[in-house]
């Protein structure tokens, strides 16, 4: 039942090489051209167009990202400078107010000292006047006492 007639036949057999070979070769070459125009070219165009589209988008996105980073850095430096400027202004104002405060304080102190001195001098003069008066009255009184005592004797 198994027909293993491989080499024995005058015609046929496994290694029967004939015109099938060149015709098959021609068929495969023709198939190559048909598949090239039906399959490889159109599909390749679509795939490569998409790949180009994707890579272009990636490049564009990268450019935009770097632009954003540049802008961000720019903004950051501007912010930094604005911040230091503000700091400078604030410290300047602080110094200024400090100076003004000190000046005012000194002025007030001087004024207070002057009026204190004036009051002291006045007090002193009044005290010496009062003392003189008091000593004069004491002299008068002692004289009066002495006179009385002398007179009574």
């Amino acid at each position: 039942m198994l027909a293993f007639n491989i080499f024995g036949a005058t015609e046929g057999g496994l290694f029967d090489i004939n015109a099938t070979l060149p015709l098959m070769a021609i068929q495969v070459v023709a198939l190559t051209y048909i598949l090239n125009s039906l399959f490889f070219k159109p599909v390749g165009n679509v795939v490569e167009k998409r790949e180009k589209f994707v890579s272009n988008n990636i490049i564009e996105a990268k450019n935009k990202l770097s632009e954003v980073k540049k802008l961000e850095a720019d903004l950051f430096t501007r912010l930094q400078s604005a911040r230091s400027e503000a700091q400078r202004i604030v410290s300047e104002a602080e110094n200024e107010s400090d100076k003004l405060y000190k000046e005012a304080l000194e002025l007030a102190n001087n004024e207070a000292n002057a009026s204190k001195e004036k009051a002291r001098l006045e007090i002193e003069s009044q005290a010496s006047v009062a003392r003189d008066q008091l000593s004069k009255q004491a002299d008068d009184l002692s004289e009066l006492i002495v006179n009385r005592l002398i007179l009574e004797k």
Binding site: N5, N18, A19, T20, L21, L23, L31, T32, F40, V46
Partner: protein
Amino acid sequence: MFFNSLPTNFAALEVGQHLYWQIGNIRLHGQVFLTSWILLGALLVFISLGTKKMENDPKGLQNLLEFLWDYIRDLARTQIGEKVYRDWMPFIGTLFLFVFISNWGGALIPWRLIKLPSGELGAPTADINTTIALALLVSLSYFYAGLSNKGWRYFEYYVHPTPIMLPFKILEDFTKPLSLSFRLFGNILADELVVGVLVFLVPLVLPIPVMFLGLFTSAIQALIFATLAAYYIGEAVEEHH
């Protein structure tokens, strides 16, 4: 007797028998062409359906075809190199597709249901003529690729590291098509024979794992054939430094 009552043509193997077509003086193996035309027709229908309405956002068949295209491009690019793989991609892809659909078509389609006056339908790659034709095309291709890319400098390849290599390199030009054709032919024919014998002996269940193994072998053989073809072309166009 029970065995005698079995139909004698049941799973009978016909090895080395062909359906001869006589055209003038030349004789052809008709079954090879019949099967290949059916399979190639199916492939072309499949491809034209898939490429009919190409969109930027692939769906369905187009997706599958693009995957296939990408697979073939990767194969060609890794073996041949970035510079010239575009020229050879259709050829490598055609080899892969032709061998693949021939192998799988031979294994998957129940050809035996179609009766021929002589011989039987089967994988076109199980015929030595087909595989030799493919292998010779590969040989011609790598010679053409080498000569068209490097001119006469192509023959530097034969004495490349040292002139001692010359006889081996010349021998290689004969062993390359020989091994390509016989590897494919032997694997596919052996697969068909093993499945046929098993179906003949145990018609139930047992042949199924062998059939799956056959499908695996068929796919691998298609990949091997295309990869080797691409490798030979790549070797021929490679620049030695």
